[in-house]
């Protein structure tokens, strides 16, 4: 168990790793394509030709953009470090495996957080009221961290090809978008559809967003928040356990 001073020291080093990741990976092709272009075009293809209210549309847009952006950076970092032969140098520094993993997740978290401001600004510009801004802020922070942790799990396989992690990510991310109440609200899903929706963390994020924008949530907010927190803890634990096992095999 690390002491308080050691934990603080390791947290500082995680932030240094996150800053390095931001400098290097934000401008990489896969991040721009999967994190920015994809969610916008996917949403536009859903939106065009349908008459949706802004109240319904904006929580879905927020959910999709946050989900895609926060899961865009973290999957490519480990494969890129492996390919660039920078991982061994990093692992020999006085940083725990958890510190490296947390740094990578933080870089993805900050990316998601930053880009999520765009749909928020659009929401306000459209004159849609945000009834509970504090809860929405908490939802976005927790959601961004949860999705960034999920994104980092996509690079568990000790491959040196970012494309492999992106392929795994796509296989998981696209089905999740369709079952998480983004395009169709949970109320309209059949009971089996709702049962599937509950295994997706994006469902709980979008549901909180619907509570806060338009007041149309399906699940009580407290349960949504607890579910998001539980998913975050699960993903973080899996990240530390599985990456610690595969990191030495990357060098």
């Amino acid at each position: 168990m690390p002491s308080g001073a050691t934990a603080l020291q390791q947290l500082r080093r995680s932030l240094a790793i996150a800053r390095k990741d931001i400098r290097i990976y934000y401008s990489k092709g896969p991040v721009v394509i999967f994190g920015l272009l994809f969610p916008v075009f996917l949403f536009l293809s859903f939106l065009i030709g349908r008459h949706l209210t802004a109240d319904f549309m904006m929580p879905g847009l927020l959910g999709m953009i946050l989900f895609f952006t926060a899961t865009a950076v973290s999957p490519i970092i480990m494969p890129w470090e492996t390919m660039g032969r920078t991982l061994e140098r990093l692992m020999s520094c006085p940083v725990a495996n958890g510190t490296i993993i947390l740094g990578d997740i933080l870089a993805s978290f900050i990316f998601g957080l930053g880009i999520s401001l765009v749909p928020i600004i659009i929401t306000l510009a459209l004159g849609v009221a945000i009834s509970s801004p504090v809860i929405l802020a908490l939802d976005i922070i927790l959601g961004a961290f949860c999705f960034a942790s999920l994104g980092n799990l996509f690079s568990i396989t000790p491959s040196n090809m970012p494309a492999t992690a992106n392929m795994i990510a796509s296989v998981v991310k696209f089905p999740l978008v369709f079952i998480s109440g983004i395009f169709i609200s949970l109320d309209e899903l059949p009971s089996w559809g709702q049962a599937i929706a509950y295994i997706s963390p994006l469902t709980y994020f979008t549901d909180i967003a619907r509570h806060c924008i338009g007041g149309q949530g399906h699940i009580p907010v407290a349960i949504d928040l607890l579910a998001l927190l539980a998913f975050t803890i699960l993903f973080l634990t899996l990240n530390i356990k599985l990456h610690s096992r595969t990191m030495p095999r990357r060098i």
Partner: protein, 309 residues
């Protein structure tokens, strides 16, 4: 543990599935020593250094650095590492790479800037510090990575093939820096293929082959202890038969080297007489005849080949 020991290794072992890459090796490196770790490709050098630097777990045995368990955060804090084939981040400048590593070691920003500038000046990279690493040559990258290993002013340095594949100037700069670091009291653990480099830099060397240590001693002692491996180099006015030379009394091995033959023996004086007789009886004239001192390379080859046999 004796308090003058910097690195203590006891029965260190690593398995990769059925292969034992490092097989119960034990040695100690004294504080302030440059210790060479030599061996052919695949002998277990890099696996050993990875276990000592905490990049890889060990399967059996133990290792400690200045009393701290190898791989622990405390041990990692006091070491500097230059891994084999490691890279700096090519999308960052040399300076940003250096400052990033300083942050990971918790070096205060002011001190990191001061030491960073000092090391880059010493190694001839200061004028290129703001260029992205992708624009650096191999030698420049390796010099930068050495600076990255030094930025925290570590007490023990682990260098895996630091001059491998470098131009003469870069290799010389790095070796000069290692000498000066050692003179200031740093302990250096160095793997290399370059016997000359090991001979010139190291106070002691260990030779590892097939995961086992086959010898540990001062380079000079290893060189002289290789009995039966005194080289005698001869060239004749015409081609001679290596098979016939190998049959001369006392010859242990023959190598053809261009127009010369290098014969290995325990009795160089007697071999010289035999060679003179051989030239007379075969109508050959001796063009040159030299008795050489055995090199560390000869010792290395003898020890590793003996193990293979």
């Amino acid at each position: 543990m004796e308090n003058d020991v910097a690195i203590q290794v006891v029965n260190l072992t690593k398995h990769y599935d059925k292969l034992t890459a490092v097989d119960h090796i034990s040695f100690a490196v004294k504080k302030g020593e440059i210790f060479g770790f030599l061996g052919p490709n695949g002998a277990g050098k890099t696996t050993t250094i990875r276990m000592l630097t905490g990049v890889m777990g060990l399967d059996e045995g133990s290792a400690s650095i200045l009393g701290y368990k190898a791989g622990s955060l405390k041990a990692k804090q006091i070491i500097g590492v230059l891994p084999e084939m490691a890279n700096a981040y090519s999308d960052l400048s040399g300076w940003n790479n250096l400052m990033f590593v300083a942050e990971l070691y918790g070096v205060p920003a002011g001190k990191a800037r001061e030491k960073g500038a000092e090391f880059l000046q010493a190694i001839g990279l200061f004028s290129r510090k703001d260029d992205k690493v992708m624009a650096y040559s191999k030698g420049m990258k390796q010099r930068l990575i050495l600076c990255m290993a030094l930025i925290s002013e570590p007490q023990v340095l682990f260098l895996d093939e630091p001059t491998s594949g470098l131009d003469v100037q870069s290799a010389r700069l790095i070796n000069d820096m290692l000498r000066s670091l050692n003179a200031s009291g740093k302990t250096i653990f160095l793997t290399t293929h370059d016997m000359d480099e090991a001979n010139q830099l190291c106070r002691r060397v260990a030779i590892i082959n097939q995961g086992k240590i086959v010898a540990i001693d001062a380079p000079e002692k290893l060189r002289l202890a290789t009995s039966g491996m005194h080289p005698v180099e001869v060239s004749f006015s015409d081609l001679a038969s290596p098979e016939a030379l190998a049959k001369l009394p006392g010859v242990n091995a023959v190598k053809t080297m261009g127009d010369k033959y290098r014969l290995y023996t325990a009795e160089p004086g007697e071999l010289v007489a035999s060679l003179v007789n051989y030239s007379f009886s075969n109508g050959l004239r001796i063009v040159s005849l030299n008795t050489l001192a055995p090199t560390l390379e000869d010792a290395f080859v003898a020890l590793t080949e003996r193990e293979v046999k």
